[in-house]
């Protein structure tokens, strides 16, 4: 159980309204990811749901019951913080047991649950150590362990992987996804990492300055971005947005074409340009093309390798069926 509903929720710090009236429903068992540029209010929204900040107006309902004025502990949610927020003077075992002790659970049940969490998360080897003696990834696991023993209605994650190195991040990403598959508990996950958002989410919520720009499944957002902002935000490398005469030809104020939806040739094509930087990743090549007369830079992505050097002439042909069109307000056409 863990359906969360925000109704006309707003939040202001002093005179500054960080979250304008916002409606959002997170279904039970769903993995929802909040993405958006830095400072857009992702953490604030999460903290409002957690109850760590008071909302300025509106209602929050958890499982259909009004939770607007409930204290955090009574909402039945568990949070994993970016800094992990482990208790440094307690052993791993005590850290994980802490919420259970606070709930005055009996010792046998506490032990059973802590051991269960330790097994799920492979914590057994360092269960008696202090957080200070653990690596970042291990601390992360302990923090997750502390969250799962409570069997909460929903998990809240605030950029939990941003302190980890790239390799560990991939590993933990998988572990969290697996955990979600197994527990089937609602999860809300804040990140500004494209890949995390695309791979983990059932539903992505794209935020800008507190406004929800679009809500949808990762592929929905990828294929049908509702506006220019979402189009530019989702996908990596970013979608090329082209204004001016070329857009007019297609009857739009702006057209967008993803780097992977552009064909490349050294001899002929629709658009001509010069190669700036070519990034060879082995599996893919990203080519940044200048002097196309379309935009400052057009990025294309091709599978495999291509012999393109700095300064070479290059021809691009967009796949017209994959073209995105936006009107003057930045909204999608068609």
């Amino acid at each position: 159980m863990g359906q969360i509903q925000l109704k006309q929720v707003t939040k202001s710090f002093g005179d500054v309204q960080v979250i304008p009236p916002l409606d959002l429903t997170i279904e039970d068992g769903e993995f929802t990811v909040f993405v958006g540029p830095s400072g857009c209010g992702k953490s604030t929204l999460l903290r409002l749901i957690a109850g760590l900040e008071d909302i300025s107006s509106g209602h929050i309902e958890i499982d259909g019951k009004d939770a607007t004025n409930l204290v955090p502990a009574k909402r039945g949610l568990a949070m994993v913080f970016q800094s992990y927020a482990l208790y440094p003077h307690m052993s791993v075992r005590k850290n994980i047991a802490f919420p259970l002790r606070m709930a005055k659970m009996d010792q046998a049940e506490i032990d059973r649950r802590v051991d269960g969490a330790a097994k799920v998360l492979n914590l057994a080897d360092y269960i008696d150590r202090r957080p200070g003696q653990l690596s970042g990834g291990q601390r992360q696991r302990v923090a997750i362990g502390r969250a799962i023993v409570r069997e909460p209605a929903a998990f809240l994650f605030d950029e939990p992987l941003s302190n980890l190195d790239a390799a560990l991040r991939v590993g933990m990403r998988l572990e969290i996804s697996e955990l979600h598959e197994r527990l089937k508990t609602t999860m809300i996950y804040v990140t500004h990492d494209q890949v995390e958002a695309m791979t983990m989410a059932d539903k992505i919520v794209v935020l800008r300055a507190g406004f929800i720009e679009q809500v949808g499944s990762p592929l929905e957002l990828y294929h049908n971005p509702r506006n220019e902002f979402v189009a530019g935000f989702i996908g990596s490398p970013k979608m090329n947005l082209i204004k001016g005469a070329e857009a007019d030809k297609h009857g739009a104020a702006t057209i967008g074409i993803r780097p992977e939806h552009t064909d490349v040739s050294m001899s002929e094509g629709m658009w001509q340009g010069t190669v700036g930087v070519a990034e060879h990743l082995g599996s893919d090549t990203f080519i940044h093309v200048h002097e196309t007369g379309l935009a400052d830079m057009v990025t294309v992505r091709i599978t495999g390798d291509i012999q393109a050097k700095h300064g070479d002439k290059i021809f691009l042909t967009p796949q017209l069926d994959k073209l995105h069109k936006f009107d003057a307000q930045g909204l999608r056409i068609g």
């Binding site: 204290v71 502990a73 949070m79 800094s83 003077h89 409570r150």
Partner: protein, 288 residues
């Protein structure tokens, strides 16, 4: 700073300070040790020669020795308990965002800048005077008989004065410690279902343990030697004679430098025992 030349230059330049400090410490220490083995009565014949351990034996067998030790301990422990408890509370209070925070913090710290002699005089004459003190007026306002603070409840009064002086120090150290507490930890505890009191016991207090040990350590060393407060208020009467005050009386009032010096050596040993003891606690605390 790693080359040989720079290191020897550093040593050379530090030398004057080191020598000065050593002399500052060693000369009085050696003189105290020397006098403690002499029969030295300045007004009754001067240096009367070698005394062996006589002074040491006489100092501890004197009827005022154990009461003095007890008074010292009562004052030290009393002040420590009061300053640490109130210090923690004040630190938490000052950590809350509030209007006029800067001014309030300066006001709280102010007593630390008042000289002990001055603060003791102020307390004695303005607050604790049984006829004209503020407390006397307050007591009379409520129809009670004014208390003769510095004669009837002399030791608690001195504890109060000294606590007032040291509270800012404790508060300041504890405040900086509280400010270094990661607020996410408190939020995590809040989400984990710990109410205010539990958050204090399980999160804030353990976080402060190191700062508290440091406060206790530093204060103990200074409190063992408090003197001005007693000299100005009770002059050692009414059961407020501490060890350091006893030594002062032996040297200046009884004009027995040898006996006083022996007491001084005891005091040094006592202070070192306390210091070692506390260092080990601190060391243990700093380890994790």
């Amino acid at each position: 700073m790693a080359t040989k030349a720079s290191r020897s230059a550093a040593r050379l330049m530090m030398a004057p300070a080191v020598v000065l400090l050593l002399g500052w410490m060693l000369v009085p220490l050696i003189m105290t040790l020397w006098f403690s083995f002499r029969r030295y009565l300045p007004l009754r014949g001067g240096d009367l020669g070698w005394a062996g351990f006589d002074n040491y034996v006489r100092f501890v067998t004197s009827s005022s020795f154990w009461p003095a030790v007890q008074t010292t301990l009562v004052i030290v422990v009393g002040v420590l308990v009061i300053t640490v408890c109130l210090g923690v509370l004040l630190a938490i209070l000052l950590d809350q965002p509030m209007w006029g925070q800067g001014v309030v913090r300066i006001l709280v710290i102010a007593p630390f800048f008042v000289m002990p002699t001055v603060s003791a005089l102020v307390w004695k004459n303005m607050f604790m005077d049984p006829v004209n003190g503020l407390f006397a007026h307050l007591w009379r306002f409520f129809g009670a008989e004014p208390v003769s603070w510095l004669s009837d409840v002399a030791t608690p009064s001195i504890i109060m004065i000294v606590s007032w002086q040291w509270l800012p120090f404790a508060t300041l150290i504890l405040l900086t410690a509280i400010q270094s507490l990661d607020s996410e930890q408190l939020e995590a505890a809040e989400m984990d279902g710990a109410p205010v009191l539990q958050r204090f016991i399980y999160i804030i207090l353990p976080h402060l343990s190191r700062a508290i040990t440091i406060v206790v350590l530093i204060q103990t060393i200074f409190l063992l030697a408090i003197f001005a407060e007693i000299f100005v208020t009770t002059g050692g009467a009414f059961g407020t004679r501490t060890l350091s005050y006893l030594i002062f009386q032996r040297v200046l009032e009884s004009q027995n430098v040898g006996l006083g010096s022996a007491g001084g050596v005891y005091a040094i040993i006592l202070a070192n025992i306390v210091a070692i003891f506390l260092m080990r606690i601190v060391g243990k605390n700093l380890d994790n």
